[in-house]
């Protein structure tokens, strides 16, 4: 079917400005991804899946410029922990600033350098392709085709230290496309941390294949730069008795669309996807989540909390699809917003689609202001209004933050949130 003219023109223009990397072993996957982008077209304002978020700046030929924020009032996120640090500056791997790419229990390589015969060949673009049905995600296919850098991480054991991907944004006009592949083999376990703004415009895909009995933990703190834009996808495939937990904190950013597309393919697996965002003014944050239960006795949790003020917009599109035969599914989904004033808005589209009869799925969505009774109670005990509001705000996102297993990371997240609130109080 031919694409609508507007979409065709926009897609052609964007593709004309990019060139397919040579890619070695990844070349076939890239060519197939390019063909898929050409067939689907890039997202347009009329697409149902982009009803609440305008894609135009994400698909434009050039990245809209975004001023670099030099953070001097806060210690670097995750900076104090023992970890393997990998730095990308405006989307380019920096060997100088990164640790040696070696850690017990895993191998780690650059996508841009990986040699010709490669384990990632079967995975690169595969989970992304699977994630294109039933809903199309053209920006992810675009990423598979044109990603210029990224990491290929293969986890064979229980890795003690987290791998920390630190993104830095140094150029006002940088336009980064990164693609990471993580394969956690049977019995393996790894924690992936990500922080920073990456680029003026960032398109990122992570494909994570979690084998039977393996575990994947992911904590991400997206950069504070006010004008940056990001479209990210995390695709996950879970084997039997495996665990996948991801949490994202977003503070600031003019536009963020975070998609999580997870498929539970082995029995007794569990996926938890959580996020908290803090935004004010020109801030648009979209969490789009799609969880497919295709095995027995799996658990999925989606927990999203958005704190919005001063005209900010929050979006949540979350779906749980329970396929025929996926009995004993335990699905939970909650999306909530705390509107600190009347100018802000939260748009939520929770969806359940269930084709098995023995399942328990619940979902809810709420939008509200600070609880006045709680506020008065705190103040009556001597807690000043501002501090009381901060406490209640941090309490509001607690359910999402608690999805992070490491309590010291939870604390770090809460401190970032408190600092964000503090800056707004001046």
């Amino acid at each position: 079917m031919a694409l609508p003219q507007v979409k065709q023109t926009a897609t052609d223009a964007r593709l004309a400005a990019l060139s397919l990397p040579e890619g070695g072993w990844s070349r076939p996957a890239r060519e197939s991804a390019l063909a898929r982008v050409q067939a689907m077209g890039l997202p347009g304002g009329r697409d149902e899946y982009w009803k609440y978020t305008r894609p135009d700046t994400l698909t434009a030929v050039e990245a809209p410029s975004a001023a670099v924020l030099n953070v001097t009032d806060e210690a670097p996120v995750f900076g104090a922990r023992d970890r393997l640090k990998v730095v990308f500056v405006d989307g380019v791997f920096s060997a100088e600033e990164s640790d040696e790419l070696a850690l017990e229990g895993l191998t780690i390589e650059r996508l841009a350098e990986a040699s010709d015969i490669h384990w990632a060949k079967d995975l690169y673009g595969t989970l992304e392709t699977n994630g294109q049905t039933p809903v199309e995600r053209p920006l992810a296919a675009l990423n598979t085709a044109f990603a210029t850098d990224g990491l290929l991480i293969r986890v064979t054991g229980k890795v003690e230290k987290p791998v920390h991907l630190l993104y830095r944004h140094e150029s006002d006009s940088s336009d980064a496309i990164l693609h990471h592949v993580v394969k956690v083999e049977e019995g393996g376990d790894v924690t992936l941390l990500e922080s920073g703004p990456a680029a003026a415009r960032f398109n990122k895909v992570i494909e994570v294949d979690v084998a039977d009995g393996a575990g994947f933990h992911h904590v991400r703190v997206q950069g504070r730069d006010h004008e940056r834009r990001a479209a990210t996808h995390i695709f996950g495939r879970l084997g039997t008795e495996s665990t996948f937990k991801t949490f994202t904190l977003t503070v600031n950013g003019v536009l963020t669309r975070n998609e999580a597309v997870i498929e539970l393919t082995g029995d007794d697996a569990a996926v938890h996807i959580a996020g908290a965002c803090m935004g004010d003014g020109d801030f648009h944050h979209d969490d789009t989540v799609f969880v497919t239960h295709d095995a027995v006795n799996c658990e999925s949790r989606q927990i999203f909390k958005k704190v919005l003020r001063n005209g900010a917009t929050g979006v949540f599109q979350g779906k749980i699809l329970v396929k025929p035969g996926a009995q004993k599914t335990d699905g939970y989904q909650i999306s909530q917003s705390l509107l600190l004033d009347e100018d802000s808005q939260f748009l939520a589209k929770p969806e359940l689609e269930i084709y098995a009869d023995d399942v328990a799925c619940s979902h809810g969505s709420t939008s509200g202001a600070i609880d006045e009774d709680g506020l008065f109670y705190l103040r009556a005990r001597g807690v000043p209004r501002g501090t009381a509001e901060d406490l209640l705000t941090i309490a509001f996102i607690a359910e999402a933050v608690q999805e992070v297993e490491d309590e010291s990371i939870q604390e770090e997240i809460n401190e970032l949130v408190a600092a964000w609130l503090g800056r707004r109080r001046g």
């Binding site: 609880d371 709680g374 109670y377 705190l378 005990r381 000043p384 209004r385 406490l391 309490a395």
Partner: protein, 251 residues
């Protein structure tokens, strides 16, 4: 300590006068009790004194140690030494009881220009006080009042009072929902704080609490006014005869 003069209060949202001229003086170190029928305005008085939104003071005054409190923010009143044990303690999901207590103690200290309590000292004090109120460590970890039983909530109020060491304590039906043993615990908690010039205003429906916390003065409130003031014997009279006679007398 607390001086209330001809206090008149209406609801902000509707044209309903609730307090119609309350006069009440609690001297330093004294325990006063207020009894009165449901809906007579006892809780409203306690809320207005502690600064809750939604009420409009249309006349009169209230001072704490000579300071006009009606103009102050709720947190300023707390730092000045006013404490209200709520009739219905509020649940705050996501805020741990310990965090809450420490934040409150240190906020008040800071407001008074005192040094903050170190976390070790705080832990020691809170454990000791919690123990005497039979509040276990697990309850201290849980979010404020969430999932607490009625009686646990009331004991938690007294723990907060014990930690904050206010000068003027208002207890709004702290005895309701307490079993006999818990009532004794709470009364012991209050009695332990008596003295040192600390004053209490105890709102209750039952003589029983007053057996444990002997009041110096008993007031009867009806229809937004104090209609009678007397000694402890007044509470007994209410217990035996109800309010009908007293209200008739007044009319």
């Amino acid at each position: 300590m607390l001086e209330i003069k001809n206090l008149q209060v209406k609801l902000e949202e509707e044209d309903k006068q609730i307090l119609k001229g309350v006069d009440l003086t609690v001297e330093a170190g004294k325990v006063h009790a207020i009894m009165g029928p449901n809906g007579s305005g006892k809780s409203t008085l306690s809320y207005v004194l502690s600064g809750k939104d939604g009420y409009e003071v249309t006349g009169g005054a209230a001072t704490l140690e000579g300071q006009d409190i009606l103009e102050m923010e709720p947190e300023e009143r707390a730092a000045a030494g006013l404490f209200l044990a709520f009739q219905y303690p509020v649940e705050i999901p996501g805020v741990g009881n310990m965090t809450f207590l420490r934040t409150a103690v240190n906020a008040q200290r800071k407001a008074r220009g005192e040094e903050e309590m170190s976390s070790t000292e705080f832990l020691k004090v809170v454990r000791e006080k919690a123990k005497s109120l039979k509040i276990d460590a697990e309850m201290l970890k849980r979010p404020v009042n969430v999932g607490f039983s009625g009686g646990e909530k009331k004991r938690n109020e007294i723990l907060q009072m014990a930690m904050l060491e206010p000068k003027m304590c208002i207890l709004d039906e702290t005895d309701s929902g307490l079993d006999v043993d818990a009532m004794k615990l709470v009364a012991d908690g209050v009695n332990a704080l008596r003295g040192e010039g600390r004053s209490f205003l105890v709102i209750t429906h039952y003589q029983r609490l007053l057996d444990h916390i002997k009041p110096d003065v008993v007031h009867i409130m009806a229809n937004g006014r104090i209609i009678k003031t007397g000694g402890p014997e007044l509470a007994l009279e209410v217990e035996n005869n109800g309010y009908a006679d007293l209200i008739e007398e007044e009319a």
